[in-house]
Structures are given as structure tokens and as C-alpha cells.
Amino acid sequence: MASDFDHESIAELQRKQPAFRGLDAGHMACPGCGQALGARLVTEAIGPDVIIANATGCLEVFTSAWPRSSWRVPWIHSLFENAPAVASGIEAALKVQGRPTKVVALGGDGGTFDIGLQALSGMLERNHNVLYVCFDNEAYMNTGVQRSSSTPHAAMTTTSPRGKQRMGKRHLKKDLLSIIGAHHIPYAATATVAYPSDLRAKVRRGLEIEGAAFVLVHSPCPLGWDHDGALSIEVARLAVQTGLFPLIEMERGTVVSAMHIRSVRPVVDYLKLQGRFRHLFEDAPEAREELQHLQQIANHNLELYALRSDQPEALDSESADTARRGGLRWS
Amino acid sequence: MTGLTEIRIDGRGGQGNVVAAYVLAQAGFEAGRFVQAFPSFGPERRGAPVAAFVRISDRPIRRRCQIRQPSYVIIQDASLLNVPGITQGVHPGGGILINSSRETEGLALPVGVKVKAVPATALAIQFLGQSIPNTALLAAFLTLTDLLPLEALQRVLSRRFEGEALERNLRLMREAAAQVSPGSWKDAGCDRCN
């Protein structure tokens, strides 16, 4: 009967049959944590048939304090620097046993850009059938906001503070995607929690790959970036719209797609929302100089990936439209 | 330990003296003896002097120490004679077998040590077409010392080679054995402590 198919009933059905949540609610993340959101989106996209190897970091700590666990999928945390190697071992075991379960490795920027880079490189070089997802909150957040190689240029952290002789982190954000690209794996991508459908699509793409895949998920940290937790999505969206965090896809080292930006925002719109960049708004020549540096970095990305577009952008509006319609189930 | 014979094989890195030691030990095993063989441990570049060692005994060999006074030394590469001390340390009454086409007068040798030169490389080139002296040296050695029956070496070669390669090695073995005086070194080297 027609009345059974009205939106009220379908919403009712959805509530009764929620999507499988590999990472369940009740964990101990900060309010507005980009990584928690990212992990939820990623595990929703993956489903139950997975084994996860997770590096030490915020995600591990706030989900697995004994005797509780937020994980509803098989999950192992070993050490800080070896999630890709543990994942390689799980993949080898499943291969020998003929089991088709997918292996996913999760790590923060610390465990991926820095201490785990060697293990990651080995996993990619051997092309293990593993999807590696890095939640990039741009510092060692779990241990109290120390800088990593992923920390953006000029950002303040406890080990790259503003001082009489310093304006935050001296070095540039490590170009990890180029390093990943140099391994010529079948698929690598950047994503962000501000564009959840795009993120889920990229995760699903990575899961379908036979071989190594890598997704870098930009994940705001309200504590470390020093902004209100309610602004996490907006901050993440501005990172994309300024060009500072380009959303790209790579196949075997070649960029094959980029999300275009219809109205490019100046970097100050992004920076001014975050306390970690507040020193750049001082009335001082060094502050102005760093603002210029960051704008130059953004401009470089805009050129390199041809991010500007006047046209209505398929991915961008499709994501928004898809979200309005209630997700990819309905498209 | 009675019945224990210790042998050192001097060669140059990359020329197979460890293989020679293993083959000799395996020949001992084929002849029903207890054996132990090991290289001089450690990294070494190609061409550098290296040694390998063999123990052959009537009783189980349990010791793991170095061989400092071998009864016999086999020198796979005559140019090693230029290395100071290469002929020292041989037990009195022992023997040094040298892979050389030249005579051995004028060598500074320890007192009471027998010496024999065998043109093992030349024989190998003639019979195998390759300059690997091991088979010839070991055949000559076993014949001189009467330490093991030649047939034991034959059995080891049969496990390592087959077909034409085996046939050539066996012919080489017999020729090298024929070029030395059987058993003339028979009484060297047993019956002492390390």
C-alpha cells in the first residue's frame, strides 16, 4: 500500500536496521574529534568482513582501554611503528589460508609519516593486499601535541612553539603522497572528514583493489589545532577550499583526479579559526611573512593539481546532493 | 682423542674451500666415521686468504674449538705460500698438500713435515674444463693419507653431480689418485690433545 512507502516508514526501517558499525559509539574521544569521525566513516564503508591492525595513537587509546573496546570487528594493536608490518603478516596468513577477508591498517600521522614510514614502505613495495588509512591530525596528539613531519609549516605545537626566534614549525609538511606515489601502488588518495561521501567512496575503491592501497584522511583535532569541536567540519572544509589540503587520487604514482574548488578561499580564512596559527595574525613582519609562505604553498597546490574551477563541480555538488538524498543507497 | 684427524684447507675467498671441507667431511661420513667441518668464521672478500677445517674421527666429536695444530693442510692456491705463516702450525709428522704445478724445494717448512705438490688445477681444466681443484686435491689427499677409501669420495661426488659432470669428476678423481704414492702419509697426525 502506498502509505507503507512514505518517508516516515522508511526512516523507521533505517532506524531499526542501522548500518553495521565496525567502530561503535561509547569511545573516549574528545568532542569534535576528526579522527573518531573518520574512523567511523571508514569502518562503515568497510563492513564486518575485515581484520584491522591499528598503530598506537589517539584512535587506539580512546577505543581500547581494558576492559572495554569500541571495536566490533577483529582488531589488533601492536606497537607504534609496525601497523603496516602487522597487517602484512595478517594478509600473508589469510592468503595461505585462502580466506578472502580484507585487511586494513589504521594509523595516525605519527605512525605513518614518521616512525612507521619504513614499515609502510615495505608493505607498499611488496604490494600486500592491504588498505592503509592514515588519520592525519598533523601532530603527535596522543602524547600532547608534539610536531610530526606532517605538521604544516608555521603551525604551533609543543615542540615547535612560537618564541622569540621561532614562528612555529620551520619545515614544510612532508609530501607523503609523493612518497606513496613513488611506490607505484594501484591506488592512493587524499580525503577529509568534511567530504564524507567522497571519503567513503575512496575507501571502497581502496578495498576493491587487489594489492596495496592508501588513503590519507585529513582529521581536525580541536585540542591540538585549538578550535571549538563544533567547527571541525568547517575547518576541514576550509583546508580543502584554500588548496592547502588537495583532494586527489593517484594510480601507480600518477594523479588521475582532483576535486576542483569552485570558490577558492584565501588561506587566512582557514588559519584564523585555529589557535595553532594565532601567532600569524600578530602585527609583526615575521607573521606577515609566514602568512605569505602559507599562501604560496596553497597557490602551488592550486597550480600543481589544477584545482581551480569555475564550473559546477561534479564531485563537490554530487557529494552534497547525495548527502541531501540520504546517502549512496539512494543514488 | 685417539683416532681423531684434523685437517685445514687454505684457499682464497670465493674459490670453494668450504665446499672442499664439506665434501671431505661428507666422505668421512660415507665411510662410517664421525665428522665435523666448519669455515673460518666471518666475512671476507673474494680473493682473501680463508681457511676451512675438518675433523674426522672414530668416535663422536663433541668439541667445538678451533683447530690450531692440524695434522694435514691442503693449500688450494699456491699463491698462498706467500702469506706469512701459512705453513706453520702443522703437527710434526704431518703433511702439506699443495695445489701447484711446480716443485716444492725452497719452501720454508716446519721440521718433520711432509710436502707434496699436485697440479690439481691443471688436471681439473683437463678433465672438467673448469679450474676447480677440489676433486683432484681431495683424491690425492685421501690416497696419500689412506684416511678414507676413495670410494667414499666417489659416493659424495655421486650425490653432488650426475651424468657427464659426474663421469668427468670420477675420471679426474682416479687420475689424481694415481699421481701420488698411496699411503705414504699414513702415519701422520693422530693421538694428541688440542
Binding site: 581484520i51 591492525a53 589460508q97 | 664439506y22 668464521f41 668439541r63 690433545c193
Partner: protein
């Protein structure tokens, strides 16, 4: 079947007989031949196994951790610097109670840089929570490797099989390799109760607060103590199949009424056995072979040392600034014996220094000193040491 083969090749064959499913190793002297032999067996189709050529020892240990946690029997091997590099992972494996077997090809640790045999590497891991068994010869290396899988899988503890690098790994000797049937009758397929499996999802590697940590460590410690029975049983059961024993946790050879004992560990035992035969006029001596360093068999040791008036502990490692490692643990185990033997503790053979037969008379002579030697490096040559450094 008995054959004269290199120790490393024999260990590789023993591992293959245990039907491993995942092997991961990074090359380091003197372990290389073990892994190369395994690679050849796989390449020739004689071993169906996934070999992961990792980019460091840290990853080697991590790969086998992941594999074993997923229900696949796994294997790795390393030595010295490699063991140190994977230290963090070794502690992790043991704390997570994951069954694994690792061969440590005992080698000295830099600095000073050395490629040669001593036992500093495995001794440095004695607190990691692994079972550690030492092999006196290559036959024991084969038999202990096979036993190790059963011990590991029954006790849910990883086992480090220690064999002297070069001295055993690179030495050819007659070794009796068991048949596949013999090994299969002893070692059932690996079934890990806590395997990662989507049909039965669990969380491994939780953060444990002070409220629970002591209990976790208590369980771990007592699991190691209980493993003594598993180690002894594995040796006895394997002896029934193979006809050979490795001497359980600790074993003794010598006249019942001997009042002097020499305790040691690893391949030097062979030299001591032969030396005792070569020097028969030096009196009755018990030769005590310590096989299990972890769990440390304190009670068994007290039994074996009962009646001794002099006990010499000879080891191939030391704790700089402290003294002997095995010596200290032996002293602790025997301190309540009444009467307790005088204990003389020596390290020798460090960095691969040869230990000739004559260390036996040297040790017995040292044990006659009016003052027992608390600790000394037996074979140091002071002419090579500057005056001010003595």
C-alpha cells in the same frame, strides 16, 4: 635419517617439517643460511609457505606477530643487532601471549662491532617474557625447534631457540632429521583460540590501566613458570618418537659422587665433555647443561647441584658493571641450599673467542682458589689491555 649437513640447513629442514605457513626474516649474519635454505625449499615447491621479505627485523617480528595472531603458524630468525632492533616487538609478542618460534643465532652485540659467537643477544632478552631454550649441538637445534612449536602452542608463549652463531649454524656434522610422519605425530595443526576472525571478533592489544596491569603480568609470569612442565613433557614425548632427548630443563652428566661441577649453556658443552675425557686425572666432575634459561629451573637446579662443594658457572655473556648473568641467576637459585656449593663465575668466549679444551683444567684450577671468584672474564689477555684500563 642421518646425514652430514650444515647446522643452518638442518634447522631450516626442521622448521619446514613443522609446516609453517608464514615466514618473515631479515638477513643478518650468522642466521642467513637458515632463511636462504627455507627460501630454496619454498622455491622448489617443497614447502608451501608465504615468505615475506621484510625491510627490517622490526618488521620481521611484526609480520609473524600478525600472522600468528591470525591463526597461521609462523617463524622468524635473527641475531645480535637484529634481536635488539626487534626487542620492542618481542616484548609485545610475549605480553600478547602469541605462540611463535624464533631462532636466535647467538652473536655478540656491538659496540664493539662483532659478527662472532657469544650469547649477549639472547641474554639481553631474558626479561621479555619469552621461553628461552639453548642448544648444545645441531641435533638439539633440530629437536628443540620441533619441540618449541608444541611448547609455544600449548602454553601460548613464544619460544626463542638459541643456537651459537657460526659455531653451530655454520658447522657441518651428522644430524638425524626426523620424518614428516614423526613430526606430524608430535605436532598437531596450529589452532589459536584467540585468532583474529570476523566471525568471532575480538580486540587484541588493549590499553591496560594500573588497575589491571599487575594481574596481566602475574598471569604471564605464572604461565612461564607452568611452562617448565610443558618443556619437560615435550622433551620426553619427542624422545619416545625420535629416540633422543635434549635433557629437559637442565641435565647433568658425571659420577654421582663428584663434588665439583661445571655448569654451562650452549655449544661449549661439547668442548667440556671432550675435555673431561682428555684430562681424566683432574678428578670427578659433573657437567651440568642448562637448557632452559626462561623459565629458569631453580628447583631442578637445586636438585642437580645437591652435594657439590664447588660449582663453576661458565657463560658466554656478561652484564657489564654487574658480572655474570647465568652466574647471578644460579647464585639466586642456590643461595638457600644448606650447604650451598662455593660458586665461581666466569665468562669466556666473548665475541667469538675460541674456547679450547684447556679451559677445562683452567676452570678446575681456578676453583681451588681460597677465595671463590665472584666473577671474572676467564680468557682476557691483559697484555692487550692498557695499564690504566686494568
Amino acid at each position: 635419517m642421518i646425514d652430514a649437513i650444515e647446522g643452518s640447513a638442518a634447522v631450516a629442514r626442521a622448521v619446514a617439517l613443522c609446516r609453517p605457513q608464514v615466514i618473515a626474516a631479515y638477513p643478518i649474519t650468522p642466521q642467513t643460511h637458515i632463511v636462504e635454505n627455507l627460501a630454496q625449499l619454498i622455491a622448489d615447491g617443497k614447502l608451501r609457505c608465504e615468505m615475506v621479505s621484510v625491510e627490517s627485523e622490526f618488521s620481521a617480528a611484526s609480520v609473524v606477530l600478525g600472522a600468528a595472531a591470525s591463526g597461521a603458524r609462523a617463524y622468524t630468525a635473527s641475531a645480535a643487532q637484529g634481536i635488539l632492533l626487534m626487542t620492542e616487538v618481542l616484548y609485545n609478542i610475549a605480553g600478547l601471549r602469541i605462540p611463535l618460534v624464533l631462532t636466535c643465532a647467538n652473536r655478540a652485540i656491538g659496540a664493539p662491532v662483532s659478527a662472532w659467537n657469544d650469547q649477549q643477544d639472547s641474554m639481553a632478552m631474558r626479561d621479555a617474557g619469552w621461553i628461552q631454550l639453548y642448544c648444545a649441538d645441531n641435533q638439539e637445534a633440530v629437536d628443540t625447534t620441533i619441540q618449541a612449536y608444541r611448547i609455544a602452542e600449548r602454553s601460548e608463549l613464544p619460544v626463542m631457540v638459541c643456537m651459537d652463531g657460526f659455531t653451530l649454524t655454520h658447522t657441518l656434522e651428522p644430524i638425524d632429521l626426523p620424518t614428516q610422519e614423526q613430526v606430524d605425530s608430535f605436532l598437531p595443526p596450529y589452532r589459536f583460540k584467540r585468532a583474529l576472525d570476523p566471525l568471532s571478533p575480538i580486540t587484541i592489544g588493549n590499553l591496560v590501566t594500573p588497575e589491571y596491569y599487575s594481574e596481566a603480568r602475574y598471569v604471564h609470569h605464572h604461565a612461564l613458570l607452568r611452562a617448565r612442565a610443558e618443556i619437560a613433557a615435550a622433551d620426553q614425548d619427542w624422545a619416545r618418537i625420535s629416540g633422543r632427548t635434549c635433557g629437559g630443563l637442565v641435565s647433568v652428566d658425571g659420577p654421582e659422587d663428584a663434588r665439583v661441577g661445571i655448569l654451562s649453556i650452549g655449544s661449549v658443552m661439547g668442548t667440556l665433555y671432550d675435555a673431561r675425557d682428555e684430562f681424566p686425572d683432574l678428578g670427578a666432575v659433573k657437567l651440568i647443561k642448562l637448557r632452559s634459561m626462561r623459565p629458569f629451573p631453580a628447583e631442578e637446579l637445586q636438585g642437580v647441584c645437591a652435594g657439590l662443594s664447588e660449582l663453576i658457572v661458565l657463560e658466554r655473556a656478561l652484564s657489564p658493571g654487574g658480572g655474570g648473568i647465568v652466574g647471578a641467576e644460579v647464585r639466586a637459585a642456590l643461595c638457600e641450599m644448606e650447604p650451598a656449593p662455593r660458586i665461581h663465575n666466569f665468562a669466556a668466549g666473548l665475541g667469538g673467542r675460541d674456547m679450547p679444551l684447556k679451559i677445562y683444567p683452567a676452570l678446575l684450577e681456578a676453583a681451588k682458589a681460597p677465595q671463590a671468584t665472584r666473577f671474572a672474564i676467564l680468557d682476557v689477555d691483559l697484555t692487550k689491555v692498557a695499564e690504566e684500563d686494568r
